[in-house]
């Protein structure tokens, strides 16, 4: 669709921010652009994307590798494989392994590097935050496991049960269980249908060969972004990245693209999760566009007006009327068309029907009467403040960039703040009318039930 004029202005402002002259000239890299304080390069040898954000306010660095592979790249039988593979990335690579006494954690723990990895629908990322003098070994280690992973069956076996316990911990939460059911009902064709942790049977049974196939399909430099944030000199960092990553070849075959699109939803969907518990929950998922869509900023403002803080519409209509213990809402920032979630935990005595009806009425009222300029101003102020705090330190910055890389445009890191400032009350009403419709919604109820009667004690 045609972008809004205001959004175009923001786009132009960002382009005007390019400062090619400031970029270090480094052999082996192609300078792409600078937006804000971040410069983008491509490694000539293999197409690896590199983002550098020097910040010397503290003597630490966050180094992150984002692979553009997530649970959206899985199919029946391999659900959860991206995540299981992420775990196996810590089990040893050609030059860093337990046998040599330098497995990932044996290198990172003694230097006190905070490190971890996460898997989500659109991406998998590996990161370390550490004293800035340790950058060389970190780059070497990450480069080694990009193509040199050992991936042994003897590693998969104990790690499968670790991941299964992670799945079980998630299932302990009625809220998480409800969210999974809403996603599964909202997406029929698109792989956002299944959760990132995967189905239990797939976690248990996926073979090491399948995982190897996954690794050999997606773990290549031209499907990855290296991000460095913190106390480093750009030229020196680029030298290190070239030294360790340039020997890795490009993917031998094109990285497969996902072509499945979710068909249009033509009626409301409803799911119910019944388990032992105390209080009920109503969750509503509305179909919204991808995070890079020009309507995404207005949807974010709409979400804040509906659900954030004591002056939000649903807080006043539900929580302040003692019908819910709170309200929360958020758009999922994803690569493909997404969902906006609204969750309403019920206060004792309130019914699911009653709370859902009031929530829908409030949304319809907003669509009919619009929102005030004051509501938009407050939402924008809250968003911008939160955005600043989401960038408190090198890790937080890298984490935010990770999402932007995953949805397909890292410059959203700056552009989204600018675009949010341009949202008007009319924009909010328009996107509410366009996306927050009952016929494109999936509602889930968590219904607590009294625990089942336990079996009589076994007679021995």
């Amino acid at each position: 669709m045609k972008p809004k004029p205001l959004f175009l202005l923001v786009l132009l402002a960002s382009v005007a921010g390019l400062r090619a002259a400031d970029a270090p000239v480094t052999d082996g890299f192609h300078f792409v652009k600078t937006v804000g304080a971040i410069s983008e390069y491509t490694l000539d040898a293999n197409g690896l994307q590199v983002l550098l954000l020097p910040d010397h306010s503290a003597p630490v660095i966050t180094f992150m590798v984002t692979y553009r592979v997530g649970s959206r790249n899985e199919v029946t039988g391999t659900t959860g494989a991206t995540h299981l593979l992420e775990h196996l990335m810590f089990k040893g690579s050609v030059h860093f392994n337990k046998e040599q006494g330098n497995k990932v954690d044996q290198v990172l723990d003694p230097i006190g590097a905070t490190n971890n990895a996460t898997t989500w629908v659109d991406r998998t990322n590996y990161y370390e935050t550490f004293g800035s003098e340790h950058l060389p070994v970190i780059v070497e280690l990450e480069a080694d496991r990009m193509r040199g992973l050992l991936l042994r069956e003897s590693d998969r076996r104990p790690e499968m049960t670790v991941v299964r316990n992670e799945f079980e911990r998630g299932e302990n939460s009625p809220f998480q269980a409800l969210m999974k059911e809403i996603m599964s009902a909202a997406y029929v064709a698109h792989p956002y249908h299944h959760s990132t942790i995967g189905w239990r049977s797939d976690i248990e049974k996926v073979s090491i060969e399948k995982l190897r196939e996954f690794y050999d399909t997606f773990y290549w430099p031209d499907n990855a972004t290296v991000t460095v944030v913190g106390d480093f000199q750009p030229a020196a960092a680029l030298d290190l990245i070239r030294k360790y990553y340039a020997p890795i070849p490009r993917a031998p075959k094109p990285i497969p693209t996902l072509y499945t699109e979710e068909p249009e939803q033509t009626g409301p969907r409803h799911v119910v999760v019944k388990r032992a518990g105390r209080l009920g929950v109503v969750g509503i998922g509305h179909k919204i566009p991808a995070a890079t869509h020009p309507d995404a900023p207005a949807v974010t403002v709409l979400s804040l007006i509906l659900t954030d803080g004591k002056n939000s519409r649903l807080y006043q209509a539900l929580t302040d009327q003692s019908l819910s213990t709170g309200v929360s809402g958020f758009p999922f920032p994803t690569h493909d068309p997404s969902l906006h979630f609204t969750f309403i935990p019920l206060a004792p005595g309130a019914t699911h029907e009653q709370v859902e009806k009031i929530a829908v009425e409030q949304i319809e009222r907003l669509k009919r009467d619009g929102v005030t300029a004051a509501e938009v101003q407050a939402a924008v102020a809250k968003y911008l403040a939160d955005s600043a705090f989401q960038r408190d330190g090198t890790y937080a910055i890298a984490d935010n960039l990770n999402t932007d890389i995953a949805v397909g445009d890292w410059t959203l890191f700056y552009r989204l703040d600018d675009a949010i400032k341009q949202v008007t009350p009319a924009d909010v009403q328009r996107v509410a009318q366009k996306y927050f419709n009952v016929d494109q919604s999936t509602t889930g109820w968590f219904v607590p039930i009294a625990a089942a009667q336990p079996a009589a004690p076994a007679k021995k």
Partner: protein
Amino acid sequence: MKRTSFLLLSACALILAVANATAAVAPNVVRATIAGIDVLIYRTGVRDVVTLKGNLPAGDAHAAGGNIAVATLCGHLLDQGTTKHSKFEIAEQLDRVGATISFGVGPQALEIEAKHAKYYGPAHGTLVLVGDVDAGVIQTQVASAFAGWTGGADYLHPARSTGTDAPREQTVFMADKTSVSVTLGQASGLRYGDPGYVALRVASSILGSDFTSRLVATVRDTEGLTYGIGARLADDDFTDGDWKVTATFAPNLLNQGVASTMKQLKGWYDQGVTADELAKRKTNLSGHYKVALATTDGMATTLLACVNRGVGPGWIDQYPAKLDALTLEEVNGAIRQHLNPDHMFLIKAGTVPGGVDLSILGNIYQSGGVSGVTKTGAGTLTLGYVQLSNTVTIAGGTLAADFSQLVPPAKMDALNLTA
């Protein structure tokens, strides 16, 4: 010990600064008593972001026989309106600058109206501001904002804790849970800053923090029994604290997981840690410390903790040297001096195999946060810290026990079921 705490965040756009190399922290902390409040201000290289944290002695430990829910309720009411502003006006003012505010309450309390005045005052209150701040301007603003505010109470100073003399086991049965949460621990008898504290902290970290620690490397990484396991000292800012191992296990791997955990604990206790483990852990903890202090949130949290713990901001600069000076004898001595695996409590919560759901009994009086029941044999139940009001029906049989009295965990009684 937890406390009433508040967190106020205020910011506009983020512009990254290029300044401020590493230097000692404490000499650059501007500290003064303003309007009766202990105010600490620390400027960092970040631009346009300030983290404000503080606390008052008004948690539920101050209940003194009263209703322990009152402190929490009072804390939650802090942004629900004042004599000058309604809750919606407060929310609107915070919205205007994009600030967020949150309150938490721990064991230090009061009856809502009557006690509010007594505990919510500047005395013994602390305020920490870190980030892009001008100390002079902040001091003036705090003086003006809190002028005329009086009252407040001192923190409680409870007696030193006494140790335990026997192991205990509790099962908290919860239906429909796919993972069991386990805590194994004891009172540490230590407050932060006590002699031996840092030594035991390092020893505990070797047992159960990060992937190279003994528990994670074996119970998780080699044996695959859990997603999460760790060991740590906790709850010791204001009072003697506790030491615990926490872990999660699938119900069918629970016994194996607990056994493997116990084996690691015993080995660590009996043989101590090695010189190599100690050397690596020292650099590990120094490195983590450096990373933690690199955000306004991390620095504010640490400064407030230093005040709460009574060690002062100087601790931030002294800590790496204290770590470095530790000897193997001190670290292994601290394990033996303060802990005893034979006297630890083992708590399991979840759909524990063989456990029975007590919630069907109704009228259960929970005390001390734990209650539960485990089946110890055919037709026999062992009840924990529970009080039952009447004769109850369980699993089709009748439990004809008189449980009008509280059953202390030290005297877990076996009950016969007439099934």
